[in-house]
């Protein structure tokens, strides 16, 4: 790996806010691709794997072709083939290695070298870890970065939008319609579909970067300070490169990072996360004025309209009396 920046030795915890306007941030395969909802509270959900996919995609785009920044879980490759590359790098390119159906490390040292090779070459393994013990065994890796499900800060209302397309899917469709009515071609060939959107939703996700899993001599993946900077960059920009008809407008709104000055940390993560609060405010009010904002769900906001933009919210970070050894980075 060309990256020579030091391995990460400080724990970080972060809160990520992102929003969606007229889009579907994460479809639920169990509900016909409706946006994921918590059925008890009607708050929206975005899974951890959905966010990790976007981080991978961003890094793949931003660091295309750079050594040490390949993405393991991606389009266009079979996982076992990548394990095999590790074996080829380790044992030399021989017919035996190329042809074997199952390979297991001959010794603990070899297992470690193969694991390190995978970590050095693939950003996502270094970051999130991975189960590499498929048919061809390259061991398991637990990565330092752990991301939770994101939840919307208020209940969201999914809308079903019916859309039409001025063309038929197949010849058979067209024929069937032609036999039906004698209307003009435009209406004949029309097919209908539906999209699910959330008019507006602000989502909050929590994440953890455990330094020992980066720099521990046995368990660490070698995740570096530069990798961390790339992770923050990815969290900031991942939605900019994930545009699609389904997503609508999505954007990272705020990333709050708590940096501990030790490997194991200096405070409880949940206590730090509690310092980050979201409030409702009137869109025309100045958010800096505490009198203009109310807690989510407060009685004062009962007759307010639904939130439709980030201007309807204020995110505050309580910086008073931070536990010693904890810094707020952004």
């Amino acid at each position: 790996m060309t990256d020579t920046s030091p391995k990460l030795t400080r724990r970080h915890d972060f809160v990520l806010f992102f929003d969606v306007t007229n889009g579907n941030p994460n479809g639920d395969p169990d509900a016909g691709n409706l946006p994921r909802l918590d059925p008890e509270t009607n708050r929206g959900l975005v899974t951890d794997v959905c966010l990790k996919r976007k981080i991978r995609n961003y890094v793949e785009l931003a660091r295309e072709g750079e050594s040490g920044y390949r993405i393991y879980v991606t389009e266009g490759a079979i996982l076992n083939e990548k394990h095999r590359e590790a074996y080829v790098a380790e044992r030399g390119d021989s017919a035996e290695v190329r042809g074997a159906k199952k390979l297991s490390p001959k010794s603990d040292e070899e297992a470690k070298r193969i694991r390190d090779w995978m970590c050095d070459n693939f950003f996502d393994i270094r970051t999130f870890g991975g189960v590499l013990s498929t048919g061809i065994n390259a061991g398991q890796v637990r990565g330092p970065v752990q991301i939770t499900f994101a939840r919307s800060v208020e209940p969201v209302l999914p809308l079903e939008v019916s859309i039409t397309r001025m063309a038929a899917t197949s010849e058979a469709d067209k024929k069937q319609r032609d036999e039906g009515s004698g209307d003009d071609e435009r209406t004949d060939n029309r097919t209908m579909g539906r999209k699910h959107i959330i008019p507006y939703g602000l989502y909050r996700a929590h994440g953890f970067v455990s330094a020992p899993l980066a720099s521990h001599e046995v368990k660490g993946t070698g995740f570096t300070e530069a990798d961390l900077a790339l992770l923050w960059e990815a969290l900031g920009n991942m939605f900019e490169h994930d545009r699609s008809a389904a997503r609508g407008e999505m954007a990272t709104r705020r990333l709050v990072v708590f940096e501990h000055d030790s490997k194991l940390g200096n405070a409880h993560a949940d206590a730090l996360f509690d310092r980050v609060k979201v409030w409702r405010k009137r869109p025309d009010a100045d958010g800096s004025d505490a009198a203009n904002r109310h807690p989510i769900g407060a009685a004062e906001t009962d007759n307010w309209g639904p939130a439709r933009s980030f201007d309807d919210y204020v995110v505050t970070v309580d910086k008073d009396n931070l536990p010693p050894g904890v810094k707020i980075l952004k």
Partner: protein, 223 residues
């Protein structure tokens, strides 16, 4: 000498080994999951944690989540084909072949108190005393330090934790009376490893909201 730790979180998945493709969680935290939480805070090869009690503090509620996942093993036939063609193009996890949609039945809004003690193992050196390790654990747990953020079964469900003193009152419990005494059937005590010890199970019962692991495992473990 024991420790007492309060842990809680939004979601949890303590997967039943017999239902692990489409994961179904046990009703309550397993002793091995509790051990994993303790080990995330402090562990050395010199010690082995033993969970004695798990106090269940919230109602047992489930929720289903379906996600796109990667199938556990890429096919050898495809690998060979790609090798012969000399390219890996067109094969991968985003295509339908390697994609699986799997539902998980997970627990919602959980909180537990774990009572545990530890034993020194044969790898303990002269400098490894029980006092030293208990002091390290309590110092870390009280300060919110951890080797890595502990989780409730799987890593996307992080656990928040607070150290409780031996004499501190238990946090308030909202477990309904109907759930306080329940036979939970056979539950994993410790998972097995290939080439290692086999998986062990015990008959889990909630008695007044407490899983008395020490007493139940004295009744016998099933291998």
């Amino acid at each position: 000498m024991g420790v007492r730790l309060h842990v809680w979180g939004d979601l949890a998945c303590f997967t039943r080994p017999e239902l692990k493709v489409e994961r179904v969680s046990y009703d309550v935290m397993t002793p091995s999951a509790a051990r994993g939480i303790l080990e995330a805070i402090h562990w050395k090869p010199a010690i082995r944690w033993e969970v004695t009690h798990i106090h269940v503090l919230r109602p047992i509620r489930f929720r289903s989540i379906r996600r796109n996942e990667v199938s556990d093993k890429a096919s050898v036939a495809n690998a060979k084909k790609a090798m012969n063609a000399g390219t890996t193009a067109g094969l991968g996890i985003d295509v339908t072949a390697a994609r699986q949609q799997r539902a998980a039945l997970v627990l919602e809004d959980v909180a537990y108190v774990i009572d545990a003690r530890f034993h020194l193992t044969e790898r303990a050196g002269a400098e490894d005393t029980a006092q030293k390790h208990i002091a390290m654990f309590t110092r870390r747990a009280a300060a919110g330090q951890c080797f890595h953020q502990p989780c409730l079964g799987t890593r996307e469900f992080p656990a928040s934790f607070r150290l409780l003193g031996q004499d501190d009152p238990l946090p308030a419990s909202t477990l309904p009376d109907a759930d306080r005494d329940r036979d939970l059937g056979y539950m994993t005590y410790a998972p097995g490893y290939p080439g290692g010890p086999p998986a062990t199970f015990f008959r889990a019962r909630l008695a007044d909201g407490v899983l008395d692991v020490a007493a139940l495992t004295r009744e016998g473990l099933l291998a």
